[in-house]
Amino acid sequence: MQYAGEGEIQANQIAWELGVSLDDPSSILTKAIHQRRALVVKNGTAEVAFDPIILKQLGNDHFAVVPLLVENNPIGVLVVDNIITKRPIEEDDIQLLEILAAQAALAIAHADAMEELARKVKETEAAYAELRASQEKLIEASKFAALGQMAATVAHEIRTPLVAIGGFVNLLMKKRTPGDSEYPHLKVVRDEALRLEDVLNRLLYYARPSQPQFEVQLIEPLIKNALALLETEFNERGIDVITEFAFQQPFPFDRNQIRQVIVNIIQNSFQSMEKGGKLYISTREENGEIIIIVRDTGEGISPENLSRIFEPFFSTKHAGTGLGMHVSQRIIQSHGGSIQVKSQLNQGAEVTIRLPRERTGETG
């Protein structure tokens, strides 16, 4: 066994040294491959002429070269010598070798095919995983679309009675003073009706976003109006509102849509300051952009929630639709602007909206 081991090393050494290029026509190995038949060397000669260097490399002038063929395509050669037995290589041996070569070629081809198959299986698995991921996304998307459509239908059905409720309560409130005993109750009905309307607006915008209707106007009254909606709640909770409207010029934006965004952000801030706090709102102009910043001292947003804040139907609130920030982002983007949220847990949050001072090219 020890001898065989040594022989193996020696054979490997020889095989290594035998390496020839397929382009080298002088080698007997390439001749056997090209002619697709066994060639026998006896006493250093064969029926074809060849480079004699191989005799030195093998240390033998009796050997046979048999091509390994798979469906007549060569995949290698078998070199067999008689170095141990010294028995001459006969026609019978060649036939046996050819059978062995055919079997060996098939085995090698199978091994290659198996390797190829394993690679393909891996590729298929990767493709399948990718397909499944995109399929899941598609299902998610169609779920949102179906939900959006249903939301639109329901929202339209609900809006008309809601407008009547809100409108008539407003009428009743006008006929009373804040000191009347019914006044706070009427106010609850009105505010809740308006809150429902706000939810509907978000659902509707989600289902079918509309193009902004640009009108050149001031932003300050709109923000003040949005703040006034929550004024009583701010006071009750001990939230101080600090405003700084450094930008005082009219510029083009869709009043309803931007109001929706501002109200949404202010409401989020309000909800994050259960124990009171400060709400800062400022406007300024910078490089042709109007910058609106809403900053609060509320509970802040964790990094994992912050990364998902603009996803549709993502909400950390029990009663949230999860559409507020998503719709806000879409509205701001349709104005050609951008919206960013910076926050850390327990450190408040800051929303920055950038809107172009002038309309740039887009239709509206």
């Binding site: 407008v163 009547a164 809100g166 407003n170 308006l194 309307e197 079918r208 309803n256």
Partner: protein, 121 residues
Amino acid sequence: MKKILIIEDETHLRQLYQSEFTDEGYKVILAKNGFEGISLCKRENPDLVVVDIRMPGMDGLDTISQILEHDRSRPVIIHSAYPHYQDNFMSWNADAFVVKSGDLSILKEKVNSFLQPASSG
């Protein structure tokens, strides 16, 4: 006193608008569908028209086209529960588009901006 015509198929909303716009100092004429709206428009010659879109029979967009055929100078405000009609070019005939809300302040502001009434509510 300025006259406004409000075309709205919902009875309760008609009552609400009547009350609110009378308080604002306008004479309010009400129509419950497009056909009635067109004939009242011809007969009463209002200073401004507020029209709903989704109405049985003739919708608000057709109603607007016919009203404008009669007189293009009269301001028309669409007042609809369906914000996406803003994307419909037929709605661009109107001078303004207001989404229905229980808070009528935006609609009032729009009406006032066109008519600037002498008295205010």
